[in-house]
């Protein structure tokens, strides 16, 4: 049995209502982005349900342009006629303070044909089913090793989203997606030793498509692998980033390829950086919104521009920036919007799903055989330890010191460096790219990073 969807936007009615109200308010140009969602989630604690949640949410953002071409915006969760009218009035008032230098416009690509992303829609499952899955997952984790006493952070969530974009020029986009996420973070502790924790996450288009066994196995294996830990000497090391860790780093420094950040002067790149070498020739990075492993991939961005595959770094050379309508116009070099914008009074830009390809490089480096190198499994605290506009990072990590084919967990440590030198100092890319929720990457070897061990 499945539960009927409470997510259903009436796009035609909204369009009709907006057309009528904007006409009455003398608003010549407008657009609207709406996301309606319904999520259910469960958490458990030692074989008992802890908290069960359901959340219905609608968020709409309207942009209006006044007679002077300045834009104002308002967001609201009230899509009733009164609520939308209030939002339009608010946006019209806000337009008096619109940016006069770089006012956004409607995206010229908002009516381009879209390539549908053929991801299956999964039905919402009853919350009791989610609960049963999670209770069983917790049971298996708790029984996997005597040191594991609790699964501190756990949850199973399923979500349904409907996105709508319409504008006064006639654009009309709509997309429905579903997703499910399972996360398990056990905590293990042995007598006289510090507690250790690691975990695993799985994302799929629906609960029935989740790799439950894989998540359970990875969460337990990772946690157990950190039980036998030792401190590491502070020093300079050759480091191997796991696919997940390397992607986290790239995401944190994505202002390097963000045209808005370039215009704002907070990117490490400049307008003329295209064509320059920004990384080792071993590295190629694309943004691939439509990759089959990208769960709930959007077909269009916040401006209605279709998403697509975009090559960012090719064999170390910067090839493209991520653009919104406004940045493409400001660059005035033939750039076009790339499908990475989020609607706002100031449009923001970000990657969709990063796809990293690497050349093998130094074949002597191997996760199985290398000595005195550090394998970084996951990075933490990126919000605090990354200075994107400066290029520097100093981040805690979970990982292992590799020695003669053996791995020993590192007690507690940070890795520090500069993203520019990190990308240039890539020595090797090992193994086939692996898919994560944020993208796809191989293991990436980098020399010359500072590791600080906790004394």
């Amino acid at each position: 049995m499945t539960t009927p969807s409470p997510v259903a936007l009436d796009g035609s009615a909204l369009q009709e209502q907006l057309t009528e109200t904007t006409s009455r308010l003398a608003i010549p140009m407008w657009d609207l982005g709406v996301t309606s969602s319904y999520d259910t989630s469960v958490q458990v604690d030692h074989g008992e349900p802890k908290q069960l949640k359901a959340r219905q949410s609608t968020m709409a953002m309207v942009r209006v342009w006044n007679d002077e071409g300045l834009v104002g915006i308002t967001s609201t969760n009230d899509l009733s006629p009164l609520g939308l009218t209030a939002a339009l009035q608010g946006a019209k008032q806000a337009s008096r303070f619109g940016d006069t230098q770089r006012p956004p416009r409607l995206s010229p690509q908002a009516q381009d044909p879209i390539t549908p992303i053929k991801q299956p829609q999964h039905s919402i499952q009853p919350i009791q089913l989610l609960l049963n899955h999670l209770l069983e997952a917790e049971r298996q984790v708790l029984h996997s090793h005597p040191a594991i006493s609790t699964v501190t952070y756990n949850g199973l969530n399923q979500g349904q989203r409907e996105r709508l974009y319409i504008n006064s020029a006639g654009a009309w986009r709509k997309q429905n997606t579903t997703s499910a996420t399972l996360w398990l973070y056990p905590r293990a502790e042995e007598p006289g030793r510090k507690p250790r924790s690691a975990g695993a996450v799985r994302v799929a288009p629906g609960v029935d498509a989740l790799d439950l066994e894989g998540c359970i196995g990875e969460a337990t294996d990772r946690t157990i692998s950190h039980l036998d830990y030792a401190p590491i000497d502070t020093g300079i090391y050759t480091v191997c980033f796991s696919p997940e860790a390397f992607l986290d780093l790239l995401w944190a420094f994505s202002t390097m390829v963000n045209a808005q950040a370039v215009l704002d002067g907070i990117s490490l790149s400049q307008r003329d950086s295209l064509g320059t070498q920004v990384a080792s020739s071993l590295l190629t990075v694309a943004d691939h919104a439509h990759h089959p492993a990208h769960v709930a991939a959007p077909e269009f961005d916040g401006e209605g521009t279709p998403t697509r595959h975009l090559l960012l770094i090719e064999s170390g050379y910067l090839r493209h920036f991520l653009h919104s309508e406004g940045t493409a116009r400001a660059f005035a070099d033939g750039s076009v919007a790339t499908g990475h914008a989020t609607m706002g009074a100031k449009v923001t830009i970000g990657p969709q799903w990063l796809d990293v390809e690497g050349e093998r490089g130094d074949t002597s480096l191997s996760c199985q055989h290398s000595n005195s190198v550090v394998l970084i499994d996951s990075l933490s605290a990126l919000h605090a330890g990354v200075k994107a506009s400066q290029g520097s990072f100093s981040l805690p990590f979970d990982g292992w010191l590799l020695s003669g084919g053996e791995r020993r967990s590192i007690e507690a440590a940070t890795v520090a460096g500069d993203i520019r030198s990190t990308l240039h100092n890539i020595l090797a890319c090992e193994g086939a790219p692996q898919c994560t929720p944020n993208g796809r990457a191989p293991h990436v070897w980098v020399e010359g990073l500072t590791i600080t061990g906790e004394a």
Partner: protein, 478 residues
């Protein structure tokens, strides 16, 4: 230019008139067999403004409303949130929360007695929203600040000033009789600059926050804050990277308190006791810190960013002494925390919005002042680090913490070397190890506004402390 205020959402006022509808929901929930039912209803009017260089680049109003309904049965709870405040939608949310616990809407009437009198904390606050600065006034303040950055700074590549206002109307009703209303006003203003010269870069931020003072922005000393930020940027632009190692450290007052918030405060929330993830769960009455440390969390002090007239479960906040002279005294607890751990509620049940169930969260959290002058702390160190301005931080699942240091200087032979700034430092450790190493507290306790993200979303808090000395801590660097 005219002074328009951006009008509020069309949703109706949340007040006593909601009592019959809330009582119906609670009655249905209790009639279905729940132990306790709680309804949280809110309405918001938010505004954010961004100035970059000499222009306003973003004015973003946001109107919202919604309800969160929580049902308790035994040790379990079900929670449903909706932003549709119609009667059918609220009833559907209630039924959803009930069904999560295996409860169904009954046919028999409930014997539940109804709500008590409305405890209205909104007296004198009705004019707050209309008394806040207009958009043009806000824009003028921000542009004056970015202009001050330009006047005081050198090598500035980017200058930003931002302001956010969050007005919230809240109604809480629960089947234990709780019926409370409040109006809340939070405002925050900040500056960020990026200085660049050749390969050298420094980014500096400053942020202030306030509760319940509509004229906060107008009184904010933007020029002074800008001058301070530019001075820091000037020193940090060509600073060397700190050499990684273990050092004695002096942490400055105000935002230096983020270390206690992250390293220890979170471990004193009952949500951590429930999870079994705090090492202090069974330590009440035992020393967990150096005797120099007394730590407090409170929600009562006037105008501080974490102050609240009532928590998000309708309870009046308390002043909670967490640690007295190094000895653990109390945990911060909410309704679920009391039920599941036995620690009495402290008025700490907080949530970002209706979309989150309340959880035990910090409010204004600080280490109390000590007997020393700041110079005594500095002079006690031969070779160490002075952390003048902290960045953000976080704590992991095992209590391991980390903090970025935005502005730091070496201490050599008992002297602060302002001519030797260092950058790229990260403080790492864990609470159990570090709390006993806080050996000296100065007499200059002060607070700073911040945001705390955790299980029930992002909430307004303050952190604080006097200057403190940590005898030994690991510093990540290059």
């Amino acid at each position: 230019m005219s002074s328009p205020s951006i009008e509020a959402t069309a949703a109706s006022r949340l007040d006593q008139s909601w009592q019959p509808e809330l009582e119906e929901l609670l009655s249905v929930g209790m009639g279905a067999g729940a132990d306790l039912v709680e309804v949280f209803v809110e309405r918001n009017n938010q505004l954010s403004v961004l100035a970059e260089q000499e222009r306003i680049t973003s004015v973003s109003p946001n109107f919202g409303c919604g309800a969160g309904i929580r049902v308790f049965k035994g040790q379990r709870d079900g929670f449903a949130a909706t932003n549709n405040l119609s009667r059918p939608a609220l009833m559907a949310a209630l039924e959803q929360a009930l069904s999560m616990l295996g409860l169904g809407r009954g046919t028999s009437s409930s014997t539940w007695q109804g709500l008590g009198n409305l405890e209205d904390h909104s007296t004198g606050k009705e004019q707050w929203l209309t008394s806040c600065p207009t958009v043009p006034d806000s824009a003028d303040c921000l542009l004056a600040a970015t202009d001050a950055l330009k006047r005081h700074g050198q090598h500035l590549q980017s200058r930003r000033a931002s302001y956010a206002r969050d007005w919230q109307e809240v109604l809480v009703a629960a089947s234990d009789g709780t019926f409370a209303r409040d109006l809340r006003l939070h405002q925050t203003v900040g500056l960020t600059l990026l200085a660049a010269a050749g390969d050298h870069r420094a980014s500096i931020s400053r942020r202030d926050g306030n509760t319940d003072q509509p004229d906060f922005l107008v009184r904010w000393p933007g020029a002074t804050v800008a001058a301070s930020a530019c001075q820091s940027a000037g020193k940090m632009l060509k600073a060397n990277f700190v050499e990684a190692g273990t050092y004695p450290v002096v942490l400055a007052n105000r935002f230096g308190g983020v270390i206690f918030h992250e390293a220890c405060g979170h471990l004193l929330e009952t949500t951590q006791v429930e999870r079994g993830s705090t090492p202090f769960a069974n330590k009440i009455g035992q020393p967990i810190a150096h005797p120099a440390v007394t730590a407090i969390d409170e929600g009562l002090s006037r105008n501080n960013f974490g102050s609240i007239a009532m928590d998000d479960e309708g309870m009046t906040p308390q002043r909670t002494v967490l640690i007295q002279d190094g000895v653990l005294q109390r945990f911060l607890s909410d309704r679920a925390g009391q039920m599941r751990t036995g620690h009495p509620r402290t008025g700490s049940g907080r949530r970002q919005s209706h979309a989150f169930a309340a959880a035990s969260r910090m409010r204004n959290t600080f280490i109390g002042g000590g007997p020393h002058g700041v110079e005594e702390l500095i002079s006690s160190i031969d070779h160490g680090l002075y952390c003048k301005q902290m960045g953000g931080g976080s704590v992991g699942a095992t209590g391991q913490f980390n903090f970025a240091v935005e502005e730091a200087y070496w201490i050599e032979n008992g002297c602060l070397r302002e001519d030797k700034p260092v950058k790229g430092a990260t403080l790492i450790g864990d609470a159990v190890t570090v709390l006993p190493r806080i050996s000296m507290c100065a007499n200059d306790e002060d607070l700073a506004a911040g945001f705390c993200g955790s299980i029930s979303g992002s909430v307004y808090v303050t952190v604080g402390q006097p200057h403190i000395k940590v005898d030994r801590i690991t510093v990540g660097g290059r």
